[in-house]
């Protein structure tokens, strides 16, 4: 491992950059959400602190830092303290495999760190470096595995608080996230098959002509909905449904620990938007992006911003789903749809005839299933009339 330290240093610098972007993004995301939601609801939103209210996040941060930190008496202290950390870390590391620009020349100045065998020197040099922390051949799997870890924070927070509301929130979230992970995992199979790779860089490169959202409209929709559920975002914000659960899993949290949860939620939003943009919207690709790497980054951030705006829009215009409907949507709609999408995509990649046959067969199955469903409902309607007419509780 001759080039061990240079790699470590390069990775460290990039990591710091990502974390900086995410942390800043988080702060202004909260502000943006409040302002945009206010606009959509014909209110003003926070506009007092600083010009146009731009310093509002700072004020919030100061407020949260000085709040009293409470730990409930019956709480499992270690896990209670650990839960926010476990929540934030996956949110921060999930973007490690996402490229945010093309390979770019980086101008460096040679430096020496004593004891590490790197020669001193003031020479400037240029290295070619991909804009992105890492390009691994299992990039998409990495994202899925980190996403699957994310559920622990919420579950543990709910359990360790020794509070029924928090517990219910934790249990709901574990059920919800595990359920939607299936549809999520299947929806990314489309881009994998199209790019013939799980590397995020390869996936972006495969979209140099057409964005995958064109080939994979259903996959993109499923991915977007499933990630909303994964990050517990409205209209799927069951774990913290205020009207039912006070504040769900973070009911007992206050001060900085609370703000860590808050931070994780917004960073996850940014993260999944970035992944969505990479998988379906061509990543950093856009006119002239390859010639001007910074332009690529700008495109990438613009796509993320568009996705984030859509999330805010959804939140301020849609009510929360009822819990059983949420599970029904995940298991009975998104999962079969994602499966069908995989089959159709695979068939289309082989040849057109097979594609036509598969689509025909799926349509036939769908029609038969619907007809059978309707027939059964009618057949068994008599005995169940009383149940069906009772108002939903």
């Amino acid at each position: 491992m001759d080039n061990f330290w240079p790699i470590v240093i390069e990775a460290a610098i990039k990591s710091v950059f990502i974390i900086f972007v995410l942390a800043t993004g988080f702060a202004y995301m909260t502000f943006a959400e409040r302002r945009v939601a206010a606009l959509l609801q014909t209110r003003l939103g926070p506009n007092r602190v600083g010009p146009f209210g731009l310093l509002q996040p700072l004020a919030d941060a100061i407020k949260l830092i000085f709040k009293e930190e409470l730990i409930p008496g019956g709480a499992d202290k270690v896990i209670f303290l650990l839960a926010p950390v476990i929540t934030v870390i996956p949110a921060l590391v999930i973007l490690a495999v996402v490229p945010w620009g093309p390979t770019a020349p980086i101008h460096c100045c040679q430096v020496t760190i004593p004891g590490l065998n790197i020669t001193l020197g003031g020479a400037y040099f240029t290295i070619q470096s991909g804009l992105g922390l890492a390009d691994v051949n299992v990039g998409l799997l990495y994202i899925l595995s980190v996403a699957s870890i994310a559920v622990y924070g919420v579950v543990l927070a709910g359990w360790s608080s020794d509070n029924k509301y928090a517990m219910l929130g934790g249990i709901r979230s574990s059920a919800q996230m595990v359920s939607y992970e299936l549809a999520l995992g299947l929806s990314v199979v489309g881009p994998i098959m199209l790019a013939q790779s799980m590397s995020m860089v390869d996936i972006v490169n495969a979209q140099s002509r057409v964005w995958f959202v064109v080939y994979q409209p259903v996959g993109a929709l499923i991915f977007y909905l499933a990630t909303l559920a994964e990050v517990n975002r409205a209209p799927f914000d069951m774990p913290e449904a205020e009207q039912e659960l006070t504040a769900g899993y973070h009911t007992e949290y206050s001060g900085m620990k609370f703000s860590l949860f808050f931070m994780a939620e917004y960073i996850k939003m940014i993260g999944v938007s970035a992944i969505f943009a990479t998988l379906f919207l061509g990543g950093w690709r856009g006119p002239m992006a390859e010639q001007v790497p910074l332009l690529g980054m700008a495109y990438f951030f613009a796509k993320i911003a568009a996705s984030l705006f859509f999330m805010i829009w959804l939140r301020s215009t849609h009510p929360r789903l009822r819990y059983d409907r949420l599970m029904a949507l995940g298991w009975k709609v998104l999962l079969p749809l994602a499966l069908a999408n995989v089959v159709v995509t695979a068939a289309a990649l082989i040849d057109t005839t097979l594609f036509a046959i598969v689509v025909g067969a799926l349509v036939l199955i769908g029609v038969v299933a619907l007809a059978a469903y309707a027939w059964r409902r009618r057949a068994s309607a008599g005995g169940r009339a009383a149940v069906a007419q009772s108002p939903a509780t």
């Binding site: 059978a372 027939w375 059964r376 057949a379 068994s380």
Partner: protein, 489 residues
Amino acid sequence: MTPTDFNAILPILVLAGYGCVLLLVDLLVPEHRKRITAWLALLGLAAAALGHVAWPAGGRLVAFGGMLVADGYALFFNLLFLGSAALTVLLAFNYLPRTGLERGEFYVLLLFTVLGMMLMGQAADLIVVFLALELLSIPLYILSGLARSRPSSEEAALKYFLLGAFSSAFLVYGIALVYGATGSTNLELVLAAANGGNPRLALLLAGVGLVLVGLGFKVAAVPFHMWTPDVYDGAPSVVTAFMSVGAKAGGFAALLRIFVVAFPDLAGQWGFVAAVIAALTMILGNFAAIAQSNIKRMLAYSSIAHAGYILMGLAAASAAGASLREFAVGAALFYLAAYTVTNLGAWAVVMAVERADSGTASTGLNLSDYAGLGWRRPGLALAMALFMLSLTGVPPTIGFVGKFYVFRAALDAGYLWLALIGVLTSLASAYYYLRIVIIMYMQEGQPVTVSRPALNFAVAVTALATFLFGILPGPLMSAATNAVMGFAR
């Protein structure tokens, strides 16, 4: 998938596809007309049996890179499994609605467990053996717990599941050690690697031993039999009936193939172990059965005992010389077929006498409930007497012929003591088998029985087979002999 692959797997493929479709079609079958599903399941079994026409007569297909074979041995077992499953469907026909357990999933799970059994017979790779074993077992775990309203059924499912998972772990560990010693899981390659002195003999022997333990659980051989009485007793009778023949035959299908095909060079080591296990199984099964007053528990111990007799065939298959080995395996196959027919018939009678309405005090499962059966239902009692005689091994029944061949195989292989134990335990078993005959004919009683066409048909078929093959064992024996032609090399 090459054409060879396709032909070799066609029966299994048919069954798998049919099972999936049946699962969906069952959703459309109204709750009170699940008999339609039963008929459809029978149709599926028949279709799978028809699938065997893709196999070359007397030939041998090797498919999926040697993971699956289609030979006479597999054909014999496949038809055995399909036949016993068809009989089980006939038994379930009345039994399930009567006991309020009728669910379409029963038939679907039955198809899948048959699929696992067929794979056990066809598998020529330890990985496939493991998957087949799981595919065989998991539906049976579920079916054992079908009568969830009874705590004993739930207990049976849990016990069977836990101990089954435990035994699977043994099997996997054994497979891993065999792989470590030989570098392959394919039976032929394992044979090649084990041939002529393996440098990692200790590792290989440990692996072989663990495989024997894992499959020994499935066939309920002593000392891995503990689960059997409770599970057989707690599970719904129709499930027990199928489990006692299907799971056992499935276990033996893999056991015989693995040990005879892959480990003939270690026969000196495993032959004696198999003989000891066979002896223990026969002794414990038969003597414990004597003490039972519940017919289900009695038949459970009886099934343990019969595992011992079949294991005697395995022990005999450790003999030197391919023809002796083939004879021993053929004898085991014949015994399995004999046991399957007889035991299914016996369970059919048990179901005819069993009282389904849980409200009554008597369950119809005690031996005393059979008092007077000989006068009230002469046909049923005659069949039961025939089954009991066959299980004992009295001529002119199929059970006698089976025992005869197995004992002869043991003698040929030089296991005189084992054959002696077999004869003595058979004598002991007469005590509890004939007790039922005595109760049926010599004691006064008013047995309450069920008489339905499907049930009566199943009893008649099995009784006829038990009797006819007892007089004319030739066709079945030649089928078993042909099945193992060229099996041991």
